[in-house]
Symmetry: C2
Subunit: 373 residues, 2 copies
């Protein structure tokens, strides 16, 4: 897909003074509802807001800043006059409607994976690569797509990027502990219902996931490639490369051999779903290109945007998913020199971040905020 | 502690023909109950069995092979005439009573960490180092202590050892997903009660653990050392060294610098408790001393004792804690070449094992079975 298809040919508007008109696509979903919560909490300026969802949800009511809105059916005509649309309705909806929105002059901030590896479409974590928006020439008034990265990738990169900038990540081995919310409301409800059933001595009903989720865990439910890695794991690899600039703006949706990219970090991930509602945890093992002591890393993280440190060894107090739930920051703890590497060449850390917020809605709204600057 | 204190001076008995007399110490605990289940299931031969616990539990009744036994209070006189005692009543009870049992001519198979690093006391995973019993000269009729390793260590080493034998583990990075049972019945009950309360909209009551466990997870609750690693993580390091023979039979309870042991693997662990009842999972990343392909590793694991492979990529079917619950084997899946290492120098795998069985009671009973041979 060429860059041109994602830009409208509409003339660039003069510098805007009014608040933008917004649309939320997939507003009845878990991320859609979080879009509204985050927009309200951050007092995001807007002149109007349109609530969009599938025909099935059209007519439902949603509340935003004490006003009730009727959900409208998403159609090709939905984007007329919309400046910014926040999409979270799955990849196929994004593929169909994001280009339509772009033609209407809308900037789409897309939470799906549909365009993340498309050349020319920036993949943005504001704390990491806000400049990618400028490089791609994204400006309010000109239709374009900006991709919101995968939740696990965002939550890893907010704390790891400042360490990468200081010492260069040579290798990153990640094991995730991922919450239900990444698979939507239905997954959260399935976890809850299964827990009720199991506690009542009844069998767990498996609908969305094929195996019991309550009081259990399982390898991430995304499809596996021929290399034995699932899509979630490969997103962590490929999205990190794009966000850190190793694709040099060209991107690629094909599988990349990390050894073909000069100087690129080597990344290996194991993604696992655990019976937690809405915040992910990740155990991250790093090898650097030059030594970085635990103390230096701690100082860097203490100043890193979007990072909070919880690392109290005496009281055994470290980040948990519940600490991160409903919070904006990525919480970091268990920071320690890796015993399995010489000197200060390696570190371990444990991070938690709210999947619906920083892993999805908050990051997208932060991107929208950058567009207003 | 010198070897001599763990051997009775009683003369060696002639080759035994009768079944041994048994005692179970801590019989009312989660592992104690599992000792009975495993002994019954494996038709372990015995002439008598004594059920021992603290004064608090004395007088309670336990059932074993359709017979009811009264629990007796553990005292210094408990071990007269006992050939084998299975201990799981915590480290302080082991420290106090195991030497007493040894003096009485009993072989103690101890599930606590009290003697694991004591020189001369073998630390045994039967599939891995059964020969350590012979080397230490352990024989039925002579009092001695045999230590049962930590659950996470056993569950990792059953599948990793055959790979280590084939290609030599140079480095192992482990992230665990540990069940409640490792902290005993009380932890399992706390998880269950918290889940009930949370589902009822009530606050979770934290008693054993200081933070909410249901629908959450947290860094392992054992104490942290000055290096930032908790005891569970260091057990995985030190016990692996001892079991794999890098202490050359001398052992050490002091903290070992892995770089001081020639050729020893470098191990880094992150131990996390997840809201699962009784089976642990571990994400294991390996670097070898010589290349080992995924196919070679798969063939080795297919023939490895105590290992079952569940690794169906097409159907996204891999080991889960519930698959391992109540089972003897360690389940292995997600076997794949590590993308972050050159060629075939590294592998990822994901393993699940029942914490109460292979992680504790089964391994101890298997040790007792070796004593009968």
């Amino acid at each position: 897909m060429a860059i041109a298809t994602h830009r409208s040919s509409a003339p660039q508007s003069s510098r805007r003074t009014s608040a933008p008109s917004l649309a939320v696509v997939g507003v009845t979903g878990a991320v859609g509802q979080e879009f509204l919560a985050v927009l309200a909490q951050r007092r995001f300026p807007y002149s109007s807001i349109k609530m969009l969802a599938s025909a099935r949800s059209a007519g439902k009511e949603v509340t935003f800043q004490d006003r009730t809105y009727k959900v409208e059916e998403l159609t090709e005509a939905s984007f007329r006059g919309i400046d910014i649309a926040l999409f979270s309705a799955g990849g196929s909806i994004s593929k169909k409607f994001a280009p339509v929105a772009v033609e209407a002059g809308t900037i789409v901030v897309d939470n799906s994976s549909a365009f993340r590896q498309t050349p020319g479409i920036p993949l943005v974590v504001p704390e990491v690569n806000a400049d990618a928006l400028t490089t791609a020439g994204i400006k309010l008034g000109q239709g374009a797509i900006v991709a919101n990265p995968n939740c696990s990738t965002i939550i890893a990169l907010v704390p790891v990027t400042p360490l990468h900038r200081a010492a260069g990540v040579h290798r990153m081995v990640v094991s995730t502990y991922q919450a239900a919310s990444g698979a939507g409301y239905a997954a959260m409800l399935e976890l809850e219902q299964q827990a009720r059933d199991v506690l009542a001595g009844k069998p767990a009903q498996c609908k969305l996931f094929k195996q019991q989720y309550a009081f259990n865990l399982f390898s991430h439910n995304s499809a596996l490639g021929p290399n034995g890695y699932n899509e979630e794991e490969m997103k962590l690899v490929h999205e990190t490369y794009k966000i850190w600039g190793y694709f040099a703006g060209t991107g690629s949706s094909v599988q990349v051999d990390p050894f073909s990219l000069p100087g690129a970090p080597r990344i290996s991930a194991t993604c696992v779903r655990v019976p937690v509602m809405r915040a992910h945890a990740e155990s991250i093992n790093l090898t650097f290109n030059k030594p970085l002591s635990e103390d230096e890393a701690r100082q860097i993280l203490a100043q890193a945007p979007g990072v909070s440190i919880i690392d109290d060894r005496a009281n055994n107090t470290f980040p948990t998913p519940l600490d991160a739930t409903g919070k904006d920051d990525v919480y970091v703890g268990r920071l320690r020199r890796d015993l399995s590497q010489d000197g200060n060449w390696g570190l371990n850390l444990f991070v938690c971040g709210d999947q619906l917020r920083k892993g999805a809605a908050l990051n997208a709204v932060q991107i929208a905020e950058l567009l207003l600057k």
